[in-house]
C-alpha cells in the first residue's frame, strides 16, 4: 500500500491532488462524475463579499494546447455561499478550501472574517492574482509590497491557515513568494493564469470581450513548473504547484520540483474525472518506481551534473 498522504504542517491531505479554483465550480458540479472523497481537496470558485455578475462574453478562447479565459469572477457572494452551498459541502470527507477575493484589502479581510464563523473549511486561498478583474491584469500579486500588505491584514483576522495564490505575470516570482511568507502566509499556490490575448483575424476583434484574459492548460506547464521550482528553492512554507497538469506524470514533475501539493485546473473541464485519474496515475508511478511514500518525491529533482 502506497502512502499518498502529504503533511503540509497546518493540514494533512490524503493525497496531494486538489481541484483548482475557478475550474471546479462549487464542487457539487463534479458530484455526478467522481467521488469527491477520493481527492486531496478542492478549492471552490473565488468568493467576494457580494454577488458579482462577471464579464460579458465571449469569456473563452481556445489556443494551442491552452485556454484563455476572462470570466471575471462571477459568484453568489459569501452570504449565499454559506447558506446554500457550504452546508452541502460538509458531507464530503476531503479538504475544502475557499478561494477568497476582494476588490481591496478590506474586502479580503471582510470575507475571511465572515467565513471564520462557519465550520467545514480547511483553509483559505487568497486570490490576489486574478488577471481579469482590473484593467491590464492589475492585482496585488504583481507587487511584493501589495502582496505583503494584503496577506498581513488577512492573517490578522484569519482563524484558519492561509494559502496565497501567486501570479506568474511578474519579473521575479520568488520575491513575491517571500513577501507572502514574510507576511505570515502558511503556504503559496502558483501559478494563476498568464495574461494573454487572441485575435480573430477575420473580424480583427479580440477573441475575448475583455480584450485580455488569462492563459491556462498544458501550454503553460513548463513555465509554471520553472516558477514552482524557483519558489520552492527559496521559501520554507509549502508550495502548491499549479499550471497545465493533465496527467499523473505532470503532477510528479511538480512534486519533484518541490511542490507539496498540486492543483488541477483546466483538465477538469476536459475530463471531469481528471483529478481522480491523476491520483491513480500517481499511485501507479510510485508502484513502478518502488516508492512507498509519495512525500519522498517532493523536491527530489536531481539537478546534479
Amino acid at each position: 500500500m502506497i502512502d499518498l498522504s502529504v503533511d503540509l504542517g497546518f493540514l494533512q491531505l490524503k493525497n496531494p491532488v486538489i481541484a483548482a479554483s475557478g475550474t471546479f465550480g462549487y464542487g457539487l458540479e463534479f458530484d455526478p462524475f467522481i467521488n469527491l472523497d477520493d481527492i486531496g481537496g478542492f478549492v471552490v470558485k473565488g468568493l467576494y463579499s457580494r454577488p458579482r455578475p462577471g464579464n460579458p462574453p465571449p469569456r473563452l478562447a481556445e489556443t494551442s494546447s491552452g485556454l484563455i479565459n476572462a470570466i471575471g469572477l462571477p459568484g453568489i457572494g459569501m452570504k449565499r455561499f454559506t447558506e446554500e452551498i457550504l452546508p452541502q459541502l460538509r458531507k464530503y470527507n476531503t479538504a475544502l478550501f475557499v478561494n477568497v477575493c476582494g476588490e481591496n484589502e478590506e474586502e479580503f479581510a471582510e470575507v475571511v472574517d465572515f467565513l471564520n464563523g462557519f465550520d467545514g473549511i480547511a483553509a483559505y486561498e487568497l486570490n490576489i492574482s486574478c488577471p481579469n478583474v482590473k484593467r491590464e491584469g492589475r492585482c496585488p500579486a504583481l507587487c511584493p509590497e501589495d502582496t505583503y500588505s494584503v496577506v498581513k491584514l488577512v492573517k490578522e483576522s484569519s482563524q484558519r491557515p492561509v494559502i496565497t495564490k501567486l501570479s506568474p505575470n511578474v519579473t521575479n516570482i520568488v520575491e513575491i513568494a517571500l513577501s507572502a511568507q514574510e507576511a505570515g502566509s502558511d503556504a503559496v499556490s502558483l501559478v494563476n493564469t498568464f495574461l494573454a490575448m487572441a485575435i480573430d483575424t477575420e473580424t480583427r476583434k479580440p477573441k475575448i470581450a475583455n480584450v485580455l484574459g488569462g492563459l491556462s492548460g498544458p501550454a503553460i506547464k513548463p513555465i509554471a513548473l520553472r516558477m514552482v521550482y524557483q519558489v520552492a528553492q527559496h521559501v520554507t512554507i509549502p508550495v502548491f504547484g499549479i499550471g497545465g497538469i493533465m496527467s499523473g506524470l505532470d503532477a510528479v514533475e511538480f512534486l519533484l520540483a518541490g511542490a507539496k501539493a498540486v492543483e488541477v485546473g483546466t483538465a477538469n473541464f476536459i475530463d471531469p474525472e481528471a483529478t481522480v485519474k491523476i491520483i491513480k496515475q500517481l499511485e501507479q508511478y510510485c508502484q513502478t518506481q518502488g516508492i512507498d511514500k509519495l512525500e519522498d518525491l517532493i523536491g527530489a529533482v536531481d539537478v546534479s551534473s
Binding site: E29, P32, P53, P56, E62, S65, L67, I270, P272, E273
Partner: protein, 265 residues
C-alpha cells in the same frame, strides 16, 4: 448526465461539409431529451484542448446522432471519425425544449437555419409522438446547406425550404418564408435554432404575432456542465438581467427572456 469514454460510432453520413455520426451510448440515449447536447472530445492529444458541444440530432433506442458542419479544427477532426471508432462523450447536458402542454390542436413551427437544424429533427419526432402537428422551416445559404430536407420528408414531417440564393425552395431568408406561412395559419408555438440574425428576426415575428417561442443557442463552452462559467447568455431577471450559463440553464431559452448583446436588430 454521465461520461461515456468509449461510445462506439455505428454509422456515419456526410453531405459536403455536413456530417452525421451515429453513436451507441445506451445510458445517454435513454435520458436524452430534444434540445439537450453532448460534449465530445475531438482529440486525445492536447490540441484542440476542449470538448465540442453538439446537440442531439436524433435518438433511436441505444443510439444518438449528432449532426454538424465542419467549421474549424475540432469539427474537422470529428468529421474524420469512422465506423467502429469510439468517442469520449458527456451527456445528456443542458435544458432542452419544453414538451409539456396540450399538443392536440394547433401546429408547432420549427425553424432551423443551416446547422441549426440539428436539434429540430429529434424535437419534431418527439412532438409528433405526443400528437402535435409540426411544420419545419429549413433555411440555408444555398441548396447544399439543406442536406436533411429529404430526411424530414421521408419521415412525413412537412418541411418548407428556403435558400438565400434561390437555388432551392423559397428565395430569401427562412424567417421571410415563415412569415408568409404565418399569414395563412396560426402556429401555437415556435422552436428555433440557427444564426443569431435569424433568431432575432424570428423573435420579432413571434412578438408581433404573440406566439410563445423557445430558441436553442450556440455558444463556445469550456466544460458543458456548469463548472467554468464561460458560456453565458444575458437573460431577463427580476433585477433586470443576469448572465446565465448557456450549458446549464440553456441551451434552450424562452425567446422573450433572451437579451441580445447587440440589440434586437
Amino acid at each position: 448526465m454521465q461520461k461515456d469514454p468509449s461510445a462506439r460510432i455505428v454509422n456515419t453520413k456526410h453531405w459536403g461539409n455536413y456530417f452525421l455520426l451515429s453513436i451507441e451510448s445506451p445510458i445517454i440515449a435513454s435520458f436524452a431529451l430534444p434540445g439537450q447536447f453532448i460534449m465530445v472530445r475531438v482529440s486525445s492529444q492536447g490540441h484542440p484542448l476542449l470538448r465540442r458541444p453538439l446537440s442531439i440530432h436524433a435518438r433511436e433506442q441505444n443510439i444518438i446522432d449528432i449532426f454538424f458542419q465542419v467549421s474549424g479544427l475540432g469539427t474537422t477532426l470529428l468529421s474524420q471519425k469512422t465506423i467502429e471508432d469510439s468517442l469520449d462523450i458527456l451527456g445528456p447536458l443542458g435544458q432542452g425544449f419544453s414538451l409539456e402542454g396540450d399538443f392536440k390542436d394547433g401546429e408547432m413551427a420549427l425553424i432551423g437555419g443551416g446547422r441549426g437544424i440539428a436539434p429540430l429533427y429529434f424535437l419534431a419526432q418527439e412532438l409528433r409522438r405526443r400528437g402535435a402537428g409540426v411544420a419545419v422551416f429549413y433555411g440555408g445559404k444555398t441548396q447544399s446547406d439543406l442536406p436533411l430536407k429529404d430526411k424530414f420528408l421521408e419521415n412525413e414531417i412537412p418541411v418548407f425550404c428556403s435558400t438565400d440564393d434561390g437555388s432551392f425552395g423559397f428565395h430569401g431568408f427562412v424567417t421571410e418564408l415563415f412569415k408568409t406561412e404565418t399569414e395563412k395559419k396560426n402556429f401555437k408555438f415556435i422552436y428555433a435554432c440557427g444564426p443569431e440574425a435569424m433568431l432575432k428576426e424570428a423573435g420579432q415575428l413571434c412578438r408581433q404575432k404573440d406566439i410563445p417561442a423557445e430558441f436553442s443557442l450556440e455558444s463556445m463552452m469550456g466544460c458543458g456542465f456548469g463548472a467554468c462559467w464561460g458560456c453565458v447568455t444575458k437573460i431577463k431577471s427580476k433585477k433586470g438581467s443576469e448572465w446565465q450559463k448557456t450549458c446549464e440553464k440553456g441551451p434552450v431559452f424562452s425567446a422573450e427572456n433572451i437579451i441580445w448583446l447587440n440589440g434586437d436588430k
